[in-house]
Amino acid sequence: MDKLLEISKEALERIAQVADLKELNDLRVHYLGKKGPIQEAMKSMKDMGQEERIAFGKVSNEVKQNVSQAIEDAKAKLERIVMEEKLASESIDITLPGFKVASGSLHPLTHVVNTLEEIFLGMGYQIAQGPEVETDYYNFELMNLPQGHPARDMQDTFYIDVNYLLRTHTSPVQARTMLKANGQGPIKVICPGKTYRRDDDDATHSHQFMQCEGIVVDKNITMANLKGTLELFVKELFGEKRAIRLRPSYFPFTEPSVEVDVSCSNCGGVGCSMCKQTGWIEILGAGMVNPKVLKMSGFDPEVYQGFAFGIGIERVAMLKYGIDNIRDFYNNDIRFLAQFAREDK
C-alpha cells in the first residue's frame, strides 16, 4: 500500500515537470502500461486477504485514476503551449495591403443622372429617351421656335442638313412623349441625355453636354406644383440647408417661365467670386408649358396644363463636386474618374 502511494507521489511529481508531449507519453506508457510500477505493485494483491485486497484495489484504482488524470491535464496544457507557439509563429504583418481588385467608378455625370432618376422615380415619373440626331421639327418647331428665331441660328446649332441636326436640348423628348400620349394625360417623365451646341470648348463651355428635362401634364397642374416639385428636388440634390429663389425669365416653350437659383454653397449666400457676388447660383430653367407647345403636341390647352423644367447635368456636378473646368468631364483622366468610385452621401 505504501509502495503504491510512493509510486503515485513520484509519478505526479514527474508529470508536473514534463516539458514536452513525447516525454509525457513515455511517462504514460511507463506508469500506466502493463509492465509499469502500479501494475507491478498490484501483483502482490494475490497474496492478500479479501479485506486487504479490497482496500488495496480501491487505492490502486484511485492512484491509476489520479495519474491518468494528471497526464490528461498535462497533455492539455502542453498542447495549448504548442498551439500558442504555432499561433505566435504564424503571426503576419496585419497592415500589409489587402488583396483586392481596384475600384472602378461610374462617371460623375452618371452619378448626377442616377441621383435625379432616383428622386423622380420615387415620385412616380418615368424615364423617357430620344435620339441625339434629331429633326429640326422636334428640336425647334414643336418647341415654339419657328423659322427665323434667333435661337435657331446656324452659328449655334450643329446642323446635318436642313432637316436634321444634333439636338440642342433634351426638350424634343417632351414633344415626342406628348405626341406618343395622343392628347391623353397624365404625363410625368424626365428625359436625361446628351445635347450639343456649336460652342468652342473652354473651361465653362462644351460643345457636348448633358441635360435632364422633366415634364408633367395633367388637367390641373399649376405653377405652385412646379414650385413644390423644384423645391423638393433641389433640396434633395444639394441639401436641405440650401435656399432656392425663383426669378421670372423667358423660354419660348414655357409661359410663364422661371429661372431657379440655389444659394451659393461656397459663401453661404453672402456673395463671392463663385456666385459673382450675388449669393445665388443659377441652376435650372422651368415654366408652365406654353399653350402653343401643348397644342402642337396634340394636347388641348383648354383642358390640359403642364410644367416643364430643364437642368444642366455638368453644372450640377460642378457645383456638387467642386469642379471648375467642364473639360474635366470629357478628358476622362483616370485620376479624376477614380474619385467617383464612391457615391456622395
Partner: protein
C-alpha cells in the same frame, strides 16, 4: 444691357434707391442684374488748385507741387505728369483715398514728402475706350471755374452706378429706357417722368419717300437745318460712357442718346449731299459699296437698302453709305427713323460681320413702330437744345396704323394656372402699375396691350405679368395632386444601369467621350453600321465634324491621354449611341490596358489580355440571360485591319455579329499611338431587346457528385470550348460541369500539338452514381473526344 442709373433717373425718379436694392427688385421681376459697377472709382477725390509747381531736386521728371484742396489746407504732392503746371485746377486723391488699383498713402518720393496724388482720368477707373492717349499720359486739367474742394467725380458727372442687365429675348422693348422705366415704376409703384416734347416752329417737309419692299413697315425722315457740331455737355458724355458708348460729338451723341431712350436707332444723312431729296427703300439692290467706315462691302439681293440719287444711301439698320454721310461740317441733316425686318437685317449684318449696336436693336426688336414720328420730334428737340438747330421741317413719314391688341383676363385664368389665390383688385393694381389700359367686365379685365409690349400675345403672357409683379416668392409651393403613377425604369434602362454597375464594380471606370469625331476616324472599328458617316454642315473643325460609328476610337484616345500622363493602367468602358445615315445604335465598348490586378510582393499580377475582356463580355451576356449556347465565337477575318486576326473574335448569334472582343491591330495601335490594348464592343441595342427566359430557380442536386480528371493530346488549333461541348454531349447529360484546368505546349508533346486537361463533374440528379456507370461514361467521353478531334488520351 448697361443701364446708367443717372440716366435712368431722367425717366423715373430713383434717387432714393440704392443700387443694390434696386438691382434686387429689378431681378425679382425678371430682368436679371448680372453685375453692378461704378462708372469711375475713388471716394474723397477733390477739386484742387496747383499753387506752386517746382522741379523735384533729385529727379529729371518729377515735380513738387503745393496743392490747395480747400480754403485752409495746402498739401505737398509729388507729381510725375509732364503736363502739370501752377494755376491748374486738378483732381486730387488725398491719403486714404481708394482708387481702382491703389490706395493713396502719405509717402516719401526720392526724399520729398508727398501727401496724395494728382490724377489722370485713366486712374479713376474709366473704361480705357473712353480715355484718349493724351488723357492717359497726363493729369486731367479741369475748368478754371471748377469749385475748389468739391467732390471731383460729382463735378465731372462721373458718380454713377451701372447695372449690367441680362434682358430675356422677349423683352427687347426694355432696351429703351423709357419702356424700362415702366418696369421700374411697377415695382416701385410710382409714375414715370414723361419726356416733354417742346413745340417747334416747322417748315413743310421737302423730301419724298418710296417704299418698294414689305421689309419696311414704317419709314420717316425729318430735316433739321443749321446745326453746329461741337462737344456734348458733360452730363451727356458721362451718361453715354456709363451706357458703354463712346462720346463723339453732340450730333452723334444725340442719336445714341435717342437709341438708349427709345430703343429706336436713327440714321443721319447730310441733306445737302442728296440731290433729288428722295429716299427709296428696296431689297433688290446689288453692288459693291463704300460705307461710312471707309470699307467696301458687297450688297446683295435681299439686303434692305435706302437708295438716294440712284446710289446707296444707307444699308438699312446696319451702316450708312460714304457719299451721304454727315461730317463735322454738315449743317443741314436728314434724320431717318424706321422699322426694318429683323431676320432679314440679321442675315445681312451677319454676312458682312457688321453686328453694330444699331442693327442689334432691329434684330432683337426693341423698336416701337407706333412712336416713329415722336422719336423724330424728340431728336429735333435735342438738336435745337444742344446743336443750335435753326430750322425744323415737318416729318415726312409712311402711313402706319397701330391696332392695339385686346385680351380678356379673368381671375380664374390667373389662379388656375398659377395655383394662387390672387384677387381681382390685386390683378387690377398690377396692370395699373404697369400702365396698361384696361376696362372691367365682371370679374374679367379687358386689357389693351401697349404698342411697345410686342411680347404679349396671349392670356398666358398676361398671367406671367401678374405672376412676376405679384412675386414668384409669393406663389405657394405644393406637389401636384394627381393619380398615382408607377415610377420605374424600362427593362432596357434597367439593364443598362445593371451593366454600368457591374463594370464599375469590377474595376472599370466609366467614361463619357465626344460623339463627334473626324472623318478619318469615324469609320474605324465600325462593325454594326452599313450607312454613310453623318456629317455636320458647319463643324467647328475637322476633328469634330462627323458622328462616330464605333466607341473604340474614342476609348483608344482616352487610353493615350492617360498613358501620356503616366496613368499606365487604364480599364474603361462607355455606353453611348453611335450613328450612321441609316440608324442609331447604342453600343457598349470596353478598353483595357496595363495591369488589371496586382499584389507585387506576393508575385500576383494579371494584365490586360484577351481573356480578361472576354470574361467581362461573358458575364454581361450571362447577366442579360443570354446563355452561352445562344452565341459562338468566330475568329475575325485574316485581312481584318482593326483587330489582331489571331487574337480577336466576333461574337455571333446565328448569322448576326453582335459584338467583337480582342486585341487591336498593330496598324490601329500605330494610328492611335497606343500599345497592347484589348477591347470589346457589343451591339447593346440588339442585346437589350432580345427575348430572354425568366429567372426560374432549379433544383439543387441531392446525390453526390464525382470528380474525374482527363487529359488529351490533340492538334493545337482545336478549340477547347468545342472539346468541352463534346464531353458534355458524350456524357449523356451526366457531366454537369467541365472546366479546363491545364493547357500545355512544348517538348513533351509533338510539334503542332497541345495537351489539354479537364476536370469533369459527373452527377445524376436522381441517384448516386455507381462505379460501373462512372467508368462507362468516362470511357464514352474519351472515345468521343479521340474520334472527333483525332486526340489521344494522355496517360
Amino acid at each position: 444691357m448697361q443701364v446708367s442709373l443717372k440716366l435712368l433717373n431722367h425717366y423715373i425718379d430713383i434717387q432714393d434707391q440704392s443700387a443694390l436694392d434696386l438691382a434686387a427688385k429689378i431681378t425679382s421681376i425678371g430682368h436679371e442684374v448680372e453685375g453692378i459697377e461704378t462708372l469711375a472709382v475713388g471716394d474723397d477725390l477733390v477739386v484742387g488748385l496747383v499753387k506752386e509747381c517746382v522741379d523735384h531736386p533729385d529727379s529729371d521728371h518729377l515735380h513738387v507741387c503745393q496743392v490747395q484742396v480747400n480754403d485752409n489746407d495746402v498739401f505737398q504732392i509729388v507729381c510725375g505728369a509732364p503736363n502739370v503746371q501752377a494755376g491748374q485746377k486738378v483732381i486730387v486723391a488725398l491719403p486714404g483715398c481708394e482708387l481702382k488699383e491703389i490706395t493713396i498713402k502719405k509717402s516719401q518720393i526720392r526724399g520729398v514728402e508727398s501727401n496724395g496724388m494728382i490724377c489722370s482720368l485713366a486712374e479713376l477707373g474709366l473704361d480705357s475706350r473712353f480715355v484718349t492717349e493724351q488723357q492717359k499720359a497726363g493729369i486731367e486739367v479741369l475748368d478754371q471755374n471748377a469749385p475748389l474742394g468739391a467732390d471731383a467725380l460729382d463735378y465731372l458727372g462721373l458718380k454713377d452706378d451701372i447695372l449690367d442687365i441680362g434682358l430675356t429675348p422677349n423683352r427687347a422693348d426694355c432696351m429703351a429706357l423709357k419702356a424700362f422705366a415702366y418696369e421700374v415704376g411697377a415695382i416701385l409703384k410710382r409714375d414715370i417722368k414723361p419726356v416733354e416734347l417742346k413745340a417747334m416752329d416747322t417748315q413743310p417737309g421737302d423730301v419724298k419717300i418710296q417704299v418698294e419692299t414689305d421689309k419696311c413697315p414704317v419709314f420717316g425722315i425729318k430735316v433739321v437745318k443749321g446745326v453746329t457740331t461741337k462737344e456734348s455737355p458733360q452730363w451727356l458724355k458721362a451718361a453715354l460712357m456709363a451706357s458703354g458708348i463712346k462720346p463723339i460729338n453732340n450730333i452723334v451723341d444725340i442719336s445714341n442718346l435717342i437709341m438708349l431712350e427709345t430703343g429706336q436707332p436713327i440714321h443721319m444723312y447730310d441733306y445737302d449731299k442728296i440731290a433729288n431729296k428722295t429716299f427709296t427703300i428696296k431689297d433688290n439692290y446689288q453692288s459693291k459699296e463704300m460705307f461710312l467706315d471707309g470699307n467696301e462691302y458687297d450688297v446683295v439681293q435681299g439686303d434692305i437698302v435706302i437708295e438716294v440719287d440712284g446710289k446707296l444711301g444707307c444699308l438699312a439698320g446696319v451702316m450708312g453709305g460714304e457719299s451721304t454721310k454727315i461730317t463735322d461740317d454738315s449743317v443741314n441733316i436728314a434724320i431717318e427713323a424706321a422699322t426694318f425686318d429683323g431676320p432679314s437685317l440679321r442675315e445681312t449684318a451677319r454676312r458682312l460681320n457688321l453686328l453694330t449696336d444699331a442693327s442689334q436693336h432691329y434684330i432683337k426688336g426693341s423698336i416701337d413702330s407706333a412712336k416713329t414720328a415722336e422719336v423724330l420730334d424728340r431728336v429735333a428737340n435735342l438738336l435745337v437744345e444742344y446743336a443750335d438747330a435753326k430750322e425744323i421741317q415737318e416729318t415726312v413719314i409712311t402711313p402706319y396704323e397701330y391696332e392695339p391688341t385686346e385680351l380678356a383676363l379673368s381671375v380664374e385664368d390667373v389662379n388656375g394656372l398659377l395655383g394662387t389665390d390672387i384677387s381681382l383688385s390685386e390683378i387690377r393694381d398690377i396692370f395699373t402699375d404697369l400702365k396698361f389700359d384696361y376696362s372691367l367686365d365682371g370679374n374679367k379685365l379687358n386689357i389693351a396691350i401697349p404698342s411697345y409690349r410686342k411680347d404679349i400675345t396671349m392670356v398666358a403672357d398676361l398671367i406671367e405679368e401678374v405672376a412676376r409683379i405679384h412675386g414668384y416668392d409669393n406663389i405657394p409651393s405644393c406637389l401636384p395632386e394627381m393619380g398615382t403613377t408607377i415610377g420605374k425604369r424600362s427593362g432596357e434602362q434597367a439593364k443598362v444601369k445593371m451593366i454600368k454597375d457591374y463594370l464599375s464594380n469590377v474595376a472599370l471606370h466609366e467614361t463619357i467621350t465626344y460623339t463627334l469625331s473626324s472623318p478619318g476616324k469615324a469609320d474605324d472599328f465600325n462593325l454594326f453600321h452599313q450607312g454613310e458617316q453623318v456629317k455636320l454642315m458647319f463643324p467647328l473643325g475637322e476633328e469634330r465634324s462627323v458622328v462616330r460609328k464605333s466607341l473604340i476610337p474614342s476609348l483608344l484616345e482616352v487610353v493615350k491621354y492617360n498613358v501620356a500622363r503616366k496613368n499606365n493602367d487604364v480599364h474603361i468602358f462607355e455606353i453611348s449611341n453611335t450613328y450612321s445615315s441609316e440608324q442609331e445604335i447604342q453600343t457598349l465598348a470596353i478598353a483595357c490596358h496595363g495591369t488589371y490586378m496586382e499584389q507585387s510582393f506576393r508575385q500576383i499580377r494579371h494584365g490586360a489580355d484577351y481573356l480578361l475582356v472576354k470574361g467581362f463580355v461573358e458575364t454581361i451576356l450571362d447577366k442579360l440571360a443570354i446563355a452561352p449556347s445562344r452565341y459562338s465565337l468566330v475568329r475575325v477575318e485574316k485581312e481584318n485591319e482593326f483587330y489582331h486576326p489571331g487574337r480577336s473574335a466576333y461574337i455571333k448569334m446565328g448569322k448576326d455579329i453582335i459584338g467583337v472582343v480582342g486585341c487591336i491591330h498593330p496598324l490601329m495601335a500605330k494610328k492611335y499611338d497606343v500599345k497592347d490594348v484589348y477591347v470589346c464592343e457589343l451591339n447593346l441595342a440588339a442585346l437589350l431587346t432580345m427575348k430572354t427566359p425568366n429567372l426560374k430557380a432549379g433544383i439543387i442536386p441531392q446525390y453526390p457528385a464525382v470528380m474525374r480528371d482527363v487529359a488529351f493530346v490533340m492538334a493545337k488549333d482545336v478549340y477547347s470550348y468545342d472539346v468541352i461541348r463534346k464531353i458534355v454531349q458524350a456524357s449523356k447529360g451526366l457531366a454537369t460541369n467541365v472546366t479546363l484546368f491545364d493547357e500545355y505546349m512544348g517538348e513533351h508533346v509533338g510539334v503542332g500539338e497541345k495537351s489539354v486537361a479537364f476536370k469533369v463533374m459527373l452527377q445524376d440528379p436522381k441517384k448516386t452514381l455507381d462505379e460501373n456507370t462512372i467508368n462507362q461514361t468516362m470511357e464514352n467521353i474519351i472515345k468521343a473526344v479521340e474520334k472527333q478531334f483525332k486526340a489521344n488520351l494522355r496517360k
